[in-house]
Symmetry: C2
């Protein structure tokens, strides 16, 4: 049965407020920190003050004797060997990290933890734990760490955590064809996403031994898969409930530490335990975006055709193997995909450093490689005497392309993104009639709509029609602020012909919902989750129809669905409300209306060595033009205007898509111009707070005009693909290009702080 086809979209494609908006703005939404359980204890963690040191001894006896202290744990309480074994496990599994054993390898690393009747007692107990360290020399810069004689962080030559090397086409021939070859070095710095809400976790064992986590992190299903072996608890006895998430942006993606600590404390104390990070802990232990040093080499013909690219990337992986390799692989996405290029070489190294374990802050490594690539595009255009947009358009990837690394570009609005923003910003006029110290610059970007990282890379959803005709979506795809629950609810509402208000979303509970990968290395909720929800809603609709047909003594094909009713075509008097059908189903024949949607994209896992393969069922594109004003006296950059064209396939909720785009752009102004975590020579973090670590404020954010480019992705629901990661990808490069246009200096290391500009202006003046 084909189902009743809704001819005109009524809910999808309309701008609607988020379904959780009311709860959030009225303060009714329950976040992790709001969870209070009877007899709950409070946890505090003792952290290393050293970036690199041997632990000679830990004495917790005095802390244990403090009244009110119910449990103290150290690295010795970590389930035997498992943490170490998993840290070094094969690369296709992100190694969970727990507490320090024998050595600490970064400032803030967990050394001991306490659970007590209240926070002050727990804090006091930390002060009673005596730890003897032998400090070791530290190294935080990945290039320094690779040098002979550098401090050894693990027993690994040159501190190399991971290496990749791959080549497509004929790289020598490619450069041979080129009229010009450009070489340059670019670098990005360590930055932190600083979500409003810090990491929180509450753990509680029930009487049957089931361990429940209430938390605000992402990827609960993946953690639910990894935690059992670490904690020695059967998978079916671990349940994770995600409360409202106050921002995250990837900083805790998959990181297991706080959850393991909280669970072990709850087990030892025999009571529920709550752990809430301070802002300092958030800086030290919730993963930063890594440093990426890019050595780029590009060959171009006089006419602007790119013939070859050689990309060498070095990133710091932090003190433990974690997502570094995946960040490298993901960062490669635009290198061969954003612009056509038949010959591409890629080399990458992920290096152990005495810094926090890195995490994939917004766009999973792509923003870092994009900064170098898109800076270089402007350098090349300048050399060729071409307009930077013209140069980009000439090489831009188009719909139907299959890139040299196997990406099948089933939809691509990149050119339109460029054109729309160009026209809006009045590019040519502004480039021609340049005002002093003002400049505009463009940069583009590319990201995948979803990613096959595991044998299953789809999504499963159930859509229930409840006895009162309300609709509940059970999807493991999670909401961490991006508005995805609203988008998925719109899809369910559309297919079941009900208003959006009739749809509710099940709380994320790994025990109650189908397994989901979540936004793991991409922004896949709309494409994967949307397809699954759509299929589930259609299935539910067909079930309703079959029952309604029985109730009305007609054939299902004679029915149509309209305005929450199922009616006989051409005889609206013969109609049943959804509630009537669902209530009959529930109470009279005990059949629940549960539609099931199982979506699997037609993709492959990228080859582990060559990175070849079409791993995503859709690719998204973005072009941004930024306008800046540089004060040559102070070196201060003011971003005064921005236009952003994002190719999201189709906007299910235009307002939310614009919000995502604007939010990403605003957030990226920080890493572009002001944010960086300062490590001193001993590897100590000097600014783990919001006073010394400068975030952009509303005053730093310019007016932003977003163009939603609907390229109609054939693999997505209603043509939609992703959009959440696009807003920020080209922002830094666009700003750097605009600065060059404004004052003629090229800053190749982020953030572009006033001192770097002043220094460059000075050197320029000196004629270097």
């Amino acid at each position: 049965m084909e189902g009743i086809v809704t001819e005109e979209l009524k809910v999808v494609g309309k701008s609607v407020p988020r379904i959780d908006a009311l709860e959030k703005v009225t303060g009714k939404a329950k976040y992790g920190v709001d969870v209070e359980l009877p007899r709950m204890l409070y946890a505090k963690v003792l952290r290393s003050k050293y970036a690199h040191a041997r632990i000679l001894s830990i004495d917790t006896s005095e802390a244990e004797r403090l009244p009110g202290v119910k449990a103290v744990i150290t690295g010795k309480d970590m389930p035997k060997d498992i943490s170490i074994e998993i840290r070094y496990s094969k690369l296709n599994l992100p190694p969970p990290y727990s507490m320090a054993v024998e050595k600490v390898r970064y400032m803030g690393e967990e050394v001991a933890a306490v659970a007590a009747e209240d926070e002050l007692t727990a804090e006091e107990a930390l002060g009673l734990i005596k730890v003897e360290y032998e400090e070791l020399p530290a190294v935080c810069d990945p290039e320094q760490a690779m040098k002979p004689g550098a401090p050894k962080i693990h027993d690994v030559e040159g501190n190399i955590m991971y290496e990749a090397k791959t080549e497509f086409g004929d790289i020598a021939a490619g450069f041979g064809e080129a009229d010009y070859i450009f070489e340059d070095r670019f670098a990005t710095d360590l930055v932190h996403p600083c979500p409003l809400e810090p990491t929180v976790c509450i753990t509680s064992f029930d009487s049957s031994g089931r361990l429940t986590f209430y938390e605000n992190s992402i990827n609960p299903f993946m953690r639910g898969k990894l935690l059992p072996s670490i904690l020695g608890i059967a998978p079916s006895k671990i349940r994770i409930v995600q409360k409202f998430v106050g921002g995250n942006f990837g900083s805790t993606q998959g990181c297991l530490t706080p959850y393991v600590i909280c669970a072990l404390l709850a087990k030892k104390a025999g009571r529920p335990v709550k752990l809430v990070y301070s802002r300092e802990e958030e800086f030290l232990n919730s993963g930063p975006r890594n440093i990426t040093v890019s050595y780029l080499k590009t060959g171009v013909k006089k006419d602007g055709t790119i013939t070859a690219r050689d990309i060498k990337v070095i990133i710091n992986g932090g003190a433990y193997l974690y997502l570094g390799p995946k960040i490298i692989m993901s960062g490669f996405t635009p290198c061969a995909g954003l612009y056509r290029c038949p010959n591409v070489k890629f080399e990458a190294k992920c290096v152990y450093t005495n810094t926090a374990i890195i995490a994939p802050y917004r766009s999973f490594g792509v923003v870092q490689t994009t900064f170098g690539m898109e800076s270089m595009m402007d350098i090349i255009a300048g050399k060729l005497g071409m307009d930077p947009i013209e140069f980009r358009l000439k090489n831009a990837t188009r719909t139907g392309d299959v890139t040299v690394v196997g990406q099948k570009i089933s939809s691509c609005g990149l050119a339109e993104c460029m054109e729309k923003t160009r026209d809006y910003i009045d590019w040519e006029k502004k480039r021609a009639a340049k005002q002093p110290n003002r400049g505009i610059g463009m940069a583009c970007g590319m990201f995948d709509s979803e990613i096959r990282n595991a044998p299953f890379a789809g999504s499963v959803a159930y859509v229930r029609v409840l006895a009162d005709g309300r609709v509940r979506v059970d999807s493991g795809e999670y909401e961490w602020g991006q508005g995805s629950h609203t988008v998925l609810s719109q899809i369910a509402a559309e297919e079941l012909s009900v208003p959006l208000e009739s749809v509710e979303f099940a709380e994320l509970d790994t025990e109650a919902l189908p397994f989901s990968l979540g936004p793991y290395g991409g922004g896949p909720v709309t494409l994967r989750g949307g397809n699954a929800v759509r299929l589930a809603a259609v299935d539910a609709r067909e079930q309703l129809q079959a029952i309604a047909a029985e109730m009305l003594s007609v054939r299902p094909q004679e029915l149509e669905m309209k305005d929450q009713k199922i009616m006989v075509k051409g005889d609206p008097g013969k109609a049943l409300s959804l509630a009537e059908v669902a209530s009959y189903a529930k109470y009279e024949i005990a059949t629940e209306i549960i539609g099931r949607g199982h979506f699997e994209p037609d993709t492959v896992i990228r080859d582990y060595k060559t990175f070849y393969g079409n791993y995503s069922s859709g690719y998204t594109f973005v072009a941004q033009i930024g306008e800046v004003e540089v004060d040559p006296e102070t070196g201060k950059v003011k971003v005064i205007n921005f236009a952003s064209g994002i190719d999201l396939g189709k906007a299910i909720n235009p307002m939310a898509a614009e919000g995502q785009s604007e939010g990403g752009l605003a957030q990226e102004i920080g890493p572009a111009l002001m944010e960086y975590i300062i490590y001193d020579e001993q590897g100590r973090v000097l600014n783990p707070n919001l006073t010394d670590y400068r975030l952009p404020t509303a005053l730093d954010v310019p007016p932003i005009k977003t163009f939603l480019i609907e390229s109609n992705e054939p693999n997505g629901p209603y043509g939609a693909k992703a959009c959440g990661q696009l807003g920020n990808i080209p922002t830094s490069a666009a700003i750097a290009n605009a600065i060059y246009n404004a004052v003629g200096v090229r800053i190749k290391e982020l953030p572009i702080t006033p001192d770097k500009i002043l220094k460059a202006l000075e050197e320029k003046k000196k004629g270097r």
Copy 2:
């Protein structure tokens, strides 16, 4: 696909400890009273001291001003009209009852309720509520209530709540055929089941307006169906979570009062509210078993053949229409079913009285009608000079019978129940060589295995195989102490070839589990729930097989299931554990192993007027022989021995079945010999406490020998039907018959207290 057939039962039919035993005996099990929510308030209820009075005014202003009081409600806060409207709604819906409006009609009726920061403040606030009453004359006895001039409780002639009249066969011809006609009156009194745990309810609204109830009652799904219209909340916004239940026996079946009060207080206060009944409230407001007065007339031939029965029953329904009509209908079960009789007439009246609203304490009315019928059987046998067992065996219903009211007896072990207990007790020898003041008596009983009370009368279950190979049963059939979760788990374990320890049961949550009728008017969990769980487990097994076949590259038919493994037949080396298959399903193909079982018995709803129809897919039988010693000086009866044969089809868990049988019998010694609620002339309850209301203790319970008669019910899982209601049905009658055998006096009104025996012995001495 037929599934893999398990040839020999490995878990089913074995005596196993209850799956919740460990939690219960270690105190880890969480009961309703253990539920603590943040910011929770405590409720107390102001109750009428009068049995019948007009409410002239209620002044709650002073209570509202008391610091710590957060909400006060009275009958005026009941959602407009609905309570009254539903009280008088059509009979096929049990009318929910809420707070008094205008009049109070029994002592203890709810007049006002308070929610406060703590219990003492709530209690204090009750004392500040001023209620003016105008007392009215009360009537508690149903026969008195029917008389002209009796106080009118509702605006109904003769206080008649409900009447039934039906006739099968030719009643006049039946009595015409008879050689003897017996007529007599029997009566039972008001008794209370006194569960260990009193009624408890916690209500909490979440930020989306969803109302959750945590409670210990039964029938959460039925309440979930009724509460929305009363509370004006959409059905999908009401969720009921059943915690461990500390006994119930029907006393709160379907009664909505505490839940409505608790919900309205939570709504008014905007905070969670907890209500816990005191023992006195439990007596006054949690339903008692009704009074049943039976006027019986039986025609028999000289050879002992029963030719006709005329049964007139009068019961008190209490102050409000509730389950009275259903109790009458259910009480009719054995009247035409226990013994063969072609001509049966039945008349019944349910009468309003100024007593608490009645509830179906264990066996739903059948114990009351059985007392009269089975007393009369002994009277008749005595008159005919027949042995009472011989007389019963002659008329006993047998497998294959279709009774005159349409009951299809698909299995019947009644005769075997009689024979087994007779042989065990050495009946003939003891009857022949009677010791002074000692006597033995038999009585039999019948109950349905399940009942069709609604269009859907089946059960739905899901059986999940979790990623670690554990099995979870999702069934809405609830555990209220009878051991049903263990029985259903055994069935799942059997079909999936796992040990019982690998099976867990989902907590009863109306939002998470499929709709269930629960043990509504019967003991249907084993038959209905068991069939559903079995079908679900078989479905899960077939899903596992299909996936395993894919993993092993064989056809499903080539596989067999053994010891938690799925293996290629004849090649045990080629095997996968359940965990391997389920984990592959979950993580590699995102398919959850969820078997679905949907069981619908082949039955009909009894005709509303004639009571005709085969409403149950199985009927259960019981025979008991009790041995008593009567002290003629004090009138005290000591029960010294008991044998009970229960026909349960098949014992899934023999130990649990014996426990049910013994528990029921022990409990019924109370109503037989000592328990009754004492009402004075103004309708005041004089003994609402466990000092003045005498329950049997361990010293009152004799040795009990239970015979599990396995008559192999074709409609039940593995031949099983029900057993939970059998233990107590014939106990009173067996004791009464034994007393007659011991000292020659026939007591026709329960309880058989010493004063009644002494009086009868005196009258016997006087030769009356």
